[in-house]
Amino acid sequence: MAQLPSERPPLLELRDLAITYQTGAGPVPAVRGVSLAVDAGQTLGLAGESGCGKSTVAASILRLLPSSATITGEILFNGENVITMRWGRLRAVRWAGASIIFQGAMHSLNPVQRIGRQIAEPILLHSPQTTPAQAQRRVAELLGQVGLPTRRAESYPHELSGGQKQRVMIAMALACEPNLIIADEPTTALDVMIQAQVLNLIGGLVREHGIGLIMISHDLSVLSETCERLAVMYAGRIVEQGPSHLVFTQARHPYAEALAWAFPIIGDPRTRLSPRGLPGDPPDPAKIPAGCSFHPRCAVAVPECSERAMELWPAGDGRLAACLRILPDFPGESPVRSVRKEEKDQPGEAVA
């Protein structure tokens, strides 16, 4: 991907990222060649089941993986390679350059510290000349942005509900005005009503501040609402990429399609009458099938699928898919297997 000298490098670019864990039972490849790019103001969703490697990719962006992980490829943040950054530079980039919204409902907050102090911590760390009063004002400002009253700064995590804790995580992620936010399953442990609030909040703040956003989830419908682009991962690789509403409604890769259909639309008779699902389990990372890693579970696999190495081929409209079916010389039927009506085509539908 050659660049003209006058072009600014994208905010974040992953080039052929591969991550292998050294375990007692031998090396386990969790991520096997992922390439992505996100620019300021852009939103990218990263979807897949548990174990597909998406959280590993997220953690690797700030080099937060355990020491048993070996990383190859490049992680370019504003042109700088995170993997080879010096320790001091990395710590400066962490949170101030890019921050992470963890799952707040889980134990991502220190249980014995007030949340105000936890939000202020990165502020004081990255701008040591900040006075405590200034930090307090900033904390109040952040809490206001996420819709929490200022006095919540004095609360402990266990005094907050799941939704409130998630808002705290969001406020904390914005504390140092980062250029990039990585949201790792921000709505997974929340009820649906709170989910909607949190997603709206994240989306709004990201647009307001012009931040780049990578959101990770197994819920394709959530991602297609909040993100402009969507990448679907399977067994450590991206199998489809493109504008989110297209990937969601007209998936080119059979796995992405199955994932999209896994989330029913209330009121849509098609999902009610013919529930979809996917037989089998994702492959063991230590024993990935040859050829297309999805072919054992694929309903429309052909013999060539188990032999030929997959790549992300162009599938029109700024889309990529790693499936033989989209290739022009594929002898089978049309690759577009089903069209899913978008929710906004049916006004008056209650949000799930």
Binding site: R94, M106, H158
Partner: protein, 350 residues
């Protein structure tokens, strides 16, 4: 647009409800739970008194004869002693007398020294406090430090060595260690005194006296410190390793904190909480260690007094020491409990 309004209203309603719940539980709950704990400790102490009474006054026969060992008594003298001990009175009356007396500090007369037990204990109290206090501070500080260092990088060389050392110390009888050190540093190499609290050559005052005291304190203090730092180190290490798997540490690292800050600001405060409880519960065993160590080093504290009382047998002194030791441990446990309530915000609400 209407969706957003609904969201907001719903969130506000939920929050209000949650707060009302918490207000109903919180506030006065703290004072009440503290009160309950104090009461509970008092009840435990009461049971100790009852146990003491039954064991000492009821089981052994004839305190008068015991008191008179080595001397001959006339019948009137025997009768007088029996009256003091309330022999012949009904049991419940004996118990009430006992209770009232203990409350006033009258713990009886020592069989061995023929002076009030409270005097015997009074003289022996300060040396024990000095010895146990110093060694507890040292063993806690060193033990916790070792535990943190070993636990944070568990599996490292430091951790493996300190584990080996700690397990060995833990398996060692404290008095044996004392005797070995005595042989080595006192008999063989004349570095430290063979026992006692002060040099025999009369009262040294001022700085001289202090140094002399410290010189005598060294070996027994080393023994007690070594034996208990092993326990504290193992407990702290275990506690810290438990914390290592928690997500908030990842959050801290992601914020850009140095490793040492993640450890000291986030992991250690959380790991210390269960350690405090376990360390306080251990106090009972520190007292046991004091008994044997004072015996080995002839340190004139409560431990040595117990040992001497044990072999006589001087029941009133034994009884008094047992009471005091139990009270000390009960109070220490209470303090630990209260400390935990104050320090851990999660406990405060419960």
């Amino acid at each position: 647009m209407s969706g957003a309004f609904l969201d907001g209203a719903l969130a506000a309603a939920q929050e209000r409800r949650g707060e009302e719940e918490r207000a109903a539980r919180g506030g006065s709950g703290l004072a009440r739970s503290l009160g309950v704990k104090v009461l509970s400790a008092a009840v435990t102490l009461l049971f100790v008194l009852v146990f003491n009474f039954f064991l000492f006054r009821v089981l052994p026969a004839d305190p008068a004869r015991n008191l008179a060992r080595g001397t001959t008594l006339t019948a009137t003298q025997m009768a007088a002693i029996n009256k003091t001990f309330g022999i012949g009175l009904p049991l419940w009356q004996q118990f009430t007398n006992y209770f009232v007396q203990t409350f006033h500090g009258n713990l009886g007369i020592s069989f061995q020294y023929h002076i009030p037990v409270s005097q015997v204990i009074g003289k022996a109290l300060w040396p024990t406090i000095l010895l146990v206090g110093t060694s507890t501070v040292l063993s806690t500080v060193i033990g916790v430090w070792m535990g943190i260092r070993g636990g944070w990088k568990h599996g490292s060389a430091f951790d493996q060595i300190s584990n080996g050392v700690n397990n060995t110390l833990y398996a060692m009888p404290d008095f044996w260690l004392g005797m070995v050190l005595l042989i080595a540093f006192s008999s063989k190499w004349f570095l430290f005194p063979a026992g006692g609290m002060n040099s025999v050559t009369g009262n040294l005052s001022g700085l001289h006296g202090l140094l002399d005291l410290l010189w005598h304190l060294t070996l027994p203090c080393v023994v007690l410190t070594l034996v208990y730092l092993a326990e504290y180190s193992l407990v702290m290490r275990s506690s810290l390793i438990d914390e290592l798997g928690n997500d908030y540490l990842l959050t801290a690292r992601a914020k850009g904190l140095r490793d040492a800050m993640v450890r000291s600001r986030h992991a250690v405060p959380n790991a210390l909480l269960p350690s405090i409880t376990l360390i306080m519960l251990n106090l009972g065993f520190v007292i046991s260690g004091a008994i044997t160590t004072e015996t080995v080093f002839s340190w004139p504290g409560l431990g040595l007094a117990s040992y001497n009382a044990l072999n006589f047998p001087d029941y009133p002194v034994l009884e008094g020491c047992f009471l005091l030791f139990s009270a000390a441990v009960i109070v220490a446990n209470l303090i630990a409990d209260l400390l935990l309530t104050v320090l851990d915000p999660r406990v405060r609400q419960a």
